[in-house]
Subunit: 233 residues, 2 copies
């Protein structure tokens, strides 16, 4: 029976992908690229393009980014039908996601529908953005008895205050959602020199920011991750 | 000038290492294996052995696992002198750590000493145990607006109660420290069927456990990771 592979392709640098992911990319018949809207431009695809066989079929599937749960579910269900049809034809499928498939990815929306259809699933982990960013600036995420909290920034910065109090170290994902308000909270709570923001880590357009004023004023790219420490960075 | 590379070698499966890590392993002159005690047996070395050149020099350095901070610091300092001497001889060095170098590793103890000696450092991220485990059992770590807490289990299960209340998803690292007490807390707080424990993930001796009684009674291997969800797994 053909198989479905969820493949983590890492944070952006094509060399930060695993041997297992590369072997799987070269094995599958079809690559599925999730996209938020129909534009046929995919960061994940750009990362893996060099590893694909010439005759690999590429299918773009739209996964809308919206708070409308019903729309998300019905589209994921629809996409799972497309996948099931290809599996039934004997095609092995690789679904690519940036970072790791189990950390804030569209893959997670798809999983229950694939499971309920009895599709054989193998997930191949990827390098998360926060590990890549920590390595890039040589700042530890957590050591010894410390805790690490990972928080996706929502439009209202909900729960950021509390998490800053509770955690030894904090990773803020999607800081572009409201970077100005986030900067205000960090400053008000005494973290002005205890954070680093990295955008487009490992690419030619990478930017590293330790400056609270820049964080407040400048537009933060979607592909950014912020680390906050209890100690000066 | 020669350079020092901190290399994440992933959770255990030799294919769950990045292309960049493999290229670096093949480039360096010396591989440093940290070990808790002098026994010349290293999980990290077993993972990477197949990727090394024949003439790569291997140096074992002891990093004691103890709560005695002074002993940890003085040994890390001593080890950094060994490294500096090799760098001064023009040798490129790769320091291997299982998982990711910035998540609970001895590499973190070494970093400040390397920085203060002006050694050029590059960190190469690795697949964390928790991403590998989540992928292995196809259980998401966090999605949409959820938070993820990562907690190393200490002997007294300190802060586990509170983190179970505060987090949408929780990863418990080093659950072998007191797995029986941890099982009691999970059961008391209603998480008996909301966890999964994976030991030696991706190896031939891998074990997966969803059973609270087994968790309470059986010895948990050092290389284990536990995921707790707010929903049934």
């Amino acid at each position: 029976m053909a198989k479905f592979y969820g493949i983590g392709v890492g944070p952006g640098d094509p060399e930060l992908i695993t041997i297992k992911a590369v072997k799987t990319l070269q094995y599958v018949d079809i690559i599925i690229c999730p996209e938020a809207k129909k534009d046929k431009d995919s960061i994940a695809l750009n990362i893996v393009r060099q590893y694909l066989k010439e005759n690999t079929e590429i299918i773009f599937l739209t996964f809308p980014m919206t708070h409308d749960k019903e729309a998300v579910t019905s589209k994921a269900l629809e996409n799972s039908v497309v996948i099931k049809n290809e599996i039934d034809k004997g095609k092995n499928i690789g679904f690519i996601t940036i970072g790791d498939p189990m950390v804030f990815s569209t893959y997670i929306n798809l999983l229950p529908h694939l499971k309920s259809k009895g599709i054989q699933i193998e997930t191949i982990p990827g390098i998360t953005s926060f590990c890549a960013v920590a390595g890039r600036v040589n700042i530890p995420l957590c050591t010894k008895e410390e805790t690490l909290g990972i928080l996706p920034l929502m439009k209202d910065c909900f729960s950021l205050d509390k998490m800053l109090d509770d955690y030894d170290n904090l990773v803020i994902m999607k800081p572009s959602h409201d970077s100005a308000k986030m900067a205000d909270i960090l400053e008000a709570k005494g973290y002005s020199n205890k954070f680093v923001l990295v955008s487009k880590c490992g690419t030619e357009e990478e930017e590293i920011c330790y400056d609270i004023d820049r964080l407040r004023k400048e537009k933060v790219h979607y592909l950014s991750t912020l680390i906050v420490k209890q100690s000066k960075v």
